[in-house]
Symmetry: C2
Subunit: 887 residues, 2 copies
């Protein structure tokens, strides 16, 4: 072996590479070499290393030595395959493919059937007896090669092909005959000469040299550069080039081609599974022109029956490969004259259900460790399992596509107001609530509706967050949607749809369809629960839920939540039985009027909290005191305001003036959170009273109540101290010496809170990072307004992700780290969690684990995702630590 | 001396303390001791130390030893003053006063005339011959003592006094006779016995003991506690107690009392200045019942003429004290039987003008150093000098009081719209623009108006900031103001004022007056400029200005600005000659329409920039590219929208839909700043083109152009890189190789920008901290909405200052520090400034100096304030460094 070897063979006869050599041989080359080294028959070939590519790109050309080496290697391949490059009698054809360290699908160039020319193709026609196929292959080769290697604009030859079809009145490519292709090749070559000033190369060696150089050069095409930039791939890596003998499955009835999975990719069952076609080329199986036959089974067309020996070989190989790679494999093979060639093996794609089943089975089989099993399942994919989904085989007309805000597939009649939603549902109808954007007053309508569609708002808009919290399907930010409330209709996808007409939402893709599309129910099954328990054994991060109602809390508990990390009290205020008291409280002109209104709310809040405590028995419940600005609770339309005035016995002008006084330019940065309690302490006093009484009531029934009172929007230690004093006063007053355990802490959702966390921790028993608001303030980005430019930002790579979906680690994350560090510097035992939407995002959870958080809290339907993510985060951290301790 | 001395005498005969012993003797005690040690005659007395106070409070009582010491010391005072405590023949009376380390005015208790009882008062009557005065003093003593020492509710005795006056049909206290007081004292004592269950003490020693204990106890009264908390005074310091012989200026025509300033406190002239009354008590001068005579001059009533010897003594003393304290002193003295006693000396309060003059003169006289002179003037006070002010001797009815948003005193006719303001001013009227709150579209009206009054918004609301920028008077956030646009009137202070009626604003106090109040013009004078040059010699921090027009730039330059730190380009967009083009640009449906509209704006922008470059010749000009959300430029009323549609030849519905699409929930966090340029790059391209062309045009006229292009609202390095690329492209294109110097940098106004400043600095030649927006985002506090709760926050001590006035050092300041540190870690030569409103706030400037900033930028009228503040910051830093190098 040379000290710096340029070329590595892969073939049974001389497998020089291994799968561990991906940096040098690229992913594809290393994998082919690995298969060869296992004794699996792969068409022989060789890999030119990435080092050579880098040298080539630096020098701007190929050395004579390299070219001689390539020629010698092609000769070797000919020998092994019993063919000869450029030999008309038995021509060796090769493919020339790029193959970088990591897969860059479609970014660089590939050339097939290289070695074909006017002479060798005649030989191939004789060998295969398929004149049309050979000439078609040749014209494809001419098109591909002239484009990739000679720089011909692909559309020119494509246009000639279309002209030809038009002239002959053909409907599709399938109508083209061998003679048509012969004519076309002549026209193509003439055109190439004219456009590029050089003839199409007839000499296979010239073809090869050009192809290898073109693949090297393609490392620096603009597509590939952009892809590298976006995916953090270094320009210096270069690509390897794989030159491999072509094999043909269409040379007679002892030939064929097929694809296989070592287990069922849809269900995960441990069953060998695949399809094949006799006398066909690889593409034909995928193209679906002919119906393929199954590999296994008693069907007389099956490979098992028609070619039992080949089938036996294939079975041996698939078992060997799965065992070797320790994962379900997706295989491609070709049978050339009774001889089996493996063209590809790779980790097979699978559904969420299959991923779970395969990971669990392989762990049970002892094939993989517990940790490996846990890492095998993409947490995000669990979402598919939890929500009903559309039957995508029965889709109707697509009206538009926007953000997949909350998964699930639902159909319903269009309604444009929350009230209409409630009333229609009471009549037994299913509805989709369509709104410009939702607000807390839409809660009842959202509860009633099957799904929510909004014209505005991003992945963490009110509609999206609340819908995910409810496990309700939602599509948000559909810009092309126009809502005409006066006419009671919407315009979408060129259609006008009236209230009462059906549409269907796919919350997993963001699509909206006309009419009703059937759905499929989710089926979790035993494997799901076993697998999740496995994850629970590993993880250290606790998983809580964001739940505002006993129903949500119950659901989340079933999904494995270990407490409530965020119980928002504002949604409770919107119930029809209490909203008027809330409004009276807001419109109160003095403290005693306000207290009167609050006293009406008190029994409701006691009941709310009592029920939640009961559900969450023995688990912590974090109750956030009132957070949103008061104007959110007031009615918006003139009619509603007039009615409210009547009900509350107030002057209309009085209400209007108060409403004007409450309106804000930037409500997000306005009079909300603990600021409400500074100016109107009675509100929190009522809430804390309710908490204490509910807790005592539940305790009297032997419920193990663990309540954590959380103060929102704290920015200074003085604020928290001020509120905490009042909380302590009320609790002492209500508990009257009862030893009920309770703590008081704060949200960290303003940059200032994180920056001064050491001082704030003096007054806090716990921190809960509110990363939604922290993202809004740190990035200066309103989540309700960002949809208008977020697309452009992602497109230009100015954000590499939607910061409301996955936490911005460099900015917001830095504040989280500072907050944890500073907070624990003051109080080492400070309990720290996170209750923003990021609590259900796997990437974010991994980050939070690294920050040393105690728990994450997310919406009920994301609890399983968080559990799995937390387990994976723990494992990855362990792996990193082990690596560090090795070095 | 004891190892732990409890009592220190102050008197010529035995001055035991010094002014440096404030921690032990309190401010008052140390100062009296200092005077005594200079040989200045002060009524003899002694100070009980703060240590004793602490011991007393800890033990909860006075030790016998201490009491013996006090008694002995009182005896000594009597000896020195030739009187005797409790002696009816020649009674010694004393005052008992608190005196903490720092002045806590009015927080703790004081008792005068102690030692008076039924016997000693007879002696005093004989000595003074003033029966009414002595009895009045006694009843005051009884009231004061019973309240302070015995815990009697003061209003009870006050009510008895009122009853007595009513019964006698007296109109004022002056009608009360000696006999009335005698009666009252009897009634008082009876009431005290009844209410407190104990007799009023007749024994002077009992009186003294009670008084000393009461003063000690007053350290812990709730008033004092709150004051300490608010002012950061430690509870552990304690207060000293001063017991001092009373002297009387009302014992005959060889007696008198007066006050004096060593220089004129109003103008600063070096003239001894003061007033006195013959045969009178101290209070009488202040109360203004009798007209006092001047101290100096040929007036035959002057002290100089009537008591030349005493006057000579006084002159010697005032010179000695000014020389000793090296500052203008405010003196109080009493002449008792031809003998001069100094009761107080302290640094005299003075007007801004006097402060400047005194500091400059004393520096010229060699009395103080340059640095001391600079530190002597409160930078904030300069504001008084720059704006015309109301003649406060001629005030009218006050209608309300809100925030003093921008100083000055102006009168004008009320107008409610910007248009009305312009049209009325064109007719030659002076107007006050009254708005709920202003927005950029009000600029023309604000320019036209004399002053601005708003019902909403804080010290840095739009109205306040723009008004200060223009040097225009503004009162903001007047909650009690109700604007009725339909009726064309406002309601305020119980009055209804129609458009066209006059009101007057005092922007320095926040007051609003009915009708017109005369004003006084400012007069800067030579001393001002000499003094400011002195400051400039010292400071290292550069001072620039925020200016959007050539006029503002010119004014700022006159005030000493060294460049423009922030030239906002959005205000230029509102000119009547261009606003329609701006709107056409916003409503454009595609890039080419947008470019058309922008091409109409280009010549205007070139002209704007060209004129500013000319004014700022050889000074840097930082131009910020467009920042506000586009909807700010659209009209708001239905009528205006209809007219716009006509002018632009657009469908009304089209405009409305576009306007709806542009509206935002939180515009502050919305589609603005560089985000506009990501979605519509044409806008910045036009602006940069205009900058380049204007610069070349000015350069051709030999103007030394130094342009800095500033990108707003950057949150990620990618954003800045993206915009910078485009800026570089346009500049290269326009400059065509010209070597005109220009740089490109960014605002740091989002927490994320500060947190990732190391990465952002890669693409920035300079940083400019936008601390207005940085405060809004870091604290999550909308400056337009905060006025509703800011008052409560300041009141409860949750903020110790309005964070929009003085920078929040712990939060926002921490981000500024991080930003500077991280930025300079990447690029050591990074130029760093600040262009928020804090750039004109002295406390903030001191902080920015400590952060290592290169410059601050503020509105033109604050440039002198910033220059002085920067000089003071430099001096204070130097002092700290010297102190550190000593330790």
């Amino acid at each position: 072996m040379d000290s710096k070897k340029s070329i590595y063979f892969f073939s049974k006869e001389n497998p020089e590479g291994r799968s561990g050599m991906k940096n040098l041989l690229g992913g594809k080359g290393a994998n082919l070499a690995e298969m060869a080294s296992l004794g699996v028959p792969v068409p022989p070939g060789f890999t030119i290393t990435t080092d050579v590519c880098c040298e080539y790109l630096e020098k701007g050309g190929m050395s004579d030595e390299l070219w001689e080496g390539i020629k010698k290697s092609v000769g070797q391949i000919g020998e092994w395959s019993g063919k000869s490059f450029g030999d008309p009698a038995c021509p060796l054809l090769v493919s020339v493919r790029s193959g970088a360290r990591v897969s860059m699908p479609g970014m660089m160039d590939t050339i097939l059937n290289l070695g074909l020319n006017e002479k060798t193709l005649e030989g191939l026609v004789e060998l295969t007896g398929q004149e049309r196929f050979v000439w078609d292959s040749y014209r494809r080769f001419v098109q591909m090669y002239s484009n990739v290697v000679m720089g011909m604009n692909g559309s020119v030859l494509e246009a000639l092909l279309e002209d030809h079809k038009t002239a002959k009145s053909y409907k599709s490519d399938a109508d083209l005959t061998a003679d048509d292709f012969k004519e076309l090749v002549i026209v193509f070559k003439k055109q190439i000469l004219e456009f590029r000033g050089q003839s199409f190369p007839e000499d296979p060696w010239d073809q090869l040299k050009g192809a290898v150089e073109a693949v090297f050069d393609s490392w620096n095409n603009s597509r590939a550069k952009t892809y590298r930039q976006l995916n953090g791939i270094a320009d210096s890596w270069g690509t390897a080039v794989n030159v491999q003998a072509m094999v043909f499955g269409n040379m007679g009835s002892d030939c064929g081609t097929g694809v296989a999975f070592t287990r069922d990719p849809s269900t995960g069952e441990k069953l060998f599974f695949g399809e094949y076609l006799i006398d066909a080329q690889g593409e034909d199986v995928v193209a679906g022109i002919r119906t393929p036959s199954p590999l296994c089974g008693i069907d007389k067309g099956s490979l098992e029956k028609t070619m039992p020996i080949v089938y036996g070989e294939l079975c041996d190989i698939y078992k060997k490969l799965e065992l070797h790679y320790r994962d379900m494999q997706d295989l491609e093979f070709t049978i050339e004259k009774g001889r089996l060639w493996m063209l590809q093996t790779r980790t097979g794609k699978r559904t969420a259900q299959a991923a779970l089943k395969i990971a669990w089975d392989m762990y049970q089989e002892g094939l993989i460790t517990k940790e490996e099993a846990i890492l095998r399942v993409d947490p995000e994919s669990l979402d598919q399992l939890l929500h009903p989904t559309l039957d995508r085989t029965q889709l109707t007309e697509e009206l538009g596509k926007a953000l997949p805000a909350s998964p699930g597939g639902v159909s319903g009649q269009v309604v444009l107001t929350s009230e209409k939603a409630s009333s229609e549902v009471q009549k037994g109808h299913k509805v989709i609530l369509v709104r410009q954007e939702t607000s807390p007053e839409d809660i009842e309508g959202m509860v009633a509706a099957e799904g929510i569609l909004t014209a505005r708002g991003g992945m963490t808009s009110h509609a999206a967050v609340v819908a995910r919290g409810m496990g309700k399907c939602c599509v948000s930010g559909l810009d092309s949607l126009f809502i005409d409330r006066e006419k009671g209709e919407i315009q979408l996808g060129g259609r006008t749809i009236k209230e009462g007409e059906f549409i269907t939402l796919d919350g997993s893709t963001g699509q909206v369809f006309l009419g009703q599309v059937p759905t499929k129910d989710p089926d979790l099954g035993e494997v799901f629960h076993s697998f999740m328990s496995l994850a629970d054994e590993v993880r250290t991060l606790k998983v809580r839920t964001n739940a505002d109602t006993p129903e949500d809390a119950q659901k989340a508990k079933e999904f494995g939540a270990e407490g409530i990390g965020l119980c928002r009290t504002e949604h409770m205020f919107f119930g029809v039985d209490r909203i008027d008291s809330v409004r009276a409280m807001i419109l109160a002109e003095n403290s005693s009027e306000r207290k009167q209104a609050l006293s009406e709310l008190l029994p409701h809040q006691i009941d709310d909290f009592y029920k939640i405590f009961k559900v969450m028995d023995a688990n912590p419940v974090t109750i956030r005191l009132l957070d949103p600005p008061l104007h959110e609770f007031l009615p918006h339309t003139e009619t509603e305001v007039i009615e409210l005035a009547k009900r509350l016995n107030l002057e209309l002008s009085q209400i209007k003036q108060r409403m004007l006084g409450l309106s804000e330019f930037n409500p997000m940065l306005g009079h909300r959170g603990c600021r409400l309690a500074v100016t109107a302490p009675e509100i929190y006093e009522m809430q804390v009273t309710a908490i204490a009484r509910a807790a005592l009531k539940a305790k009297a029934e032997n419920v193990d109540v663990r309540v954590e009172i959380m103060v929102p929007l704290v920015g200074t230690p003085e604020e928290l101290k001020h509120i905490r004093n009042s909380v302590e006063f009320v609790m002492a007053n209500e508990l009257k010496g009862d030893d009920l355990p309770w703590t008081c802490g704060t949200m960290i959702e303003l940059p200032r809170a994180a920056l001064t966390a050491d001082e704030i921790a003096v007054h806090a028993d716990f921190f809960s990072f509110g990363t939604n608001d922290l993202t809004q303030t740190t990035l200066g980005l309103s989540r309700d307004d960002s949809s208008r430019f977020l697309g452009a930002y992602l497109q230009h790579g100015l954000y590499n992700q939607d910061p409301f979906v996955s936490v911005d680690q460099k900015g917001v994350g830095k504040l989280v780290q500072m907050g944890v560090q500073l907070g624990r510097a003051t109080r080492a035992d400070l309990k720290v969690g996170i209750c923003g939407e990021h609590g259900g995002d796997p990437k974010s959870i991994e980050f939070f684990q690294s920050c040393g958080l105690d728990y994450v809290s997310c919406s009920p339907y994301r609890v399983p995702i968080a559990r799995l993510s937390a387990a994976q985060a723990q494992i990855k951290e362990q792996i990193k630590q082990n690596e560090r301790s090795l070095h």
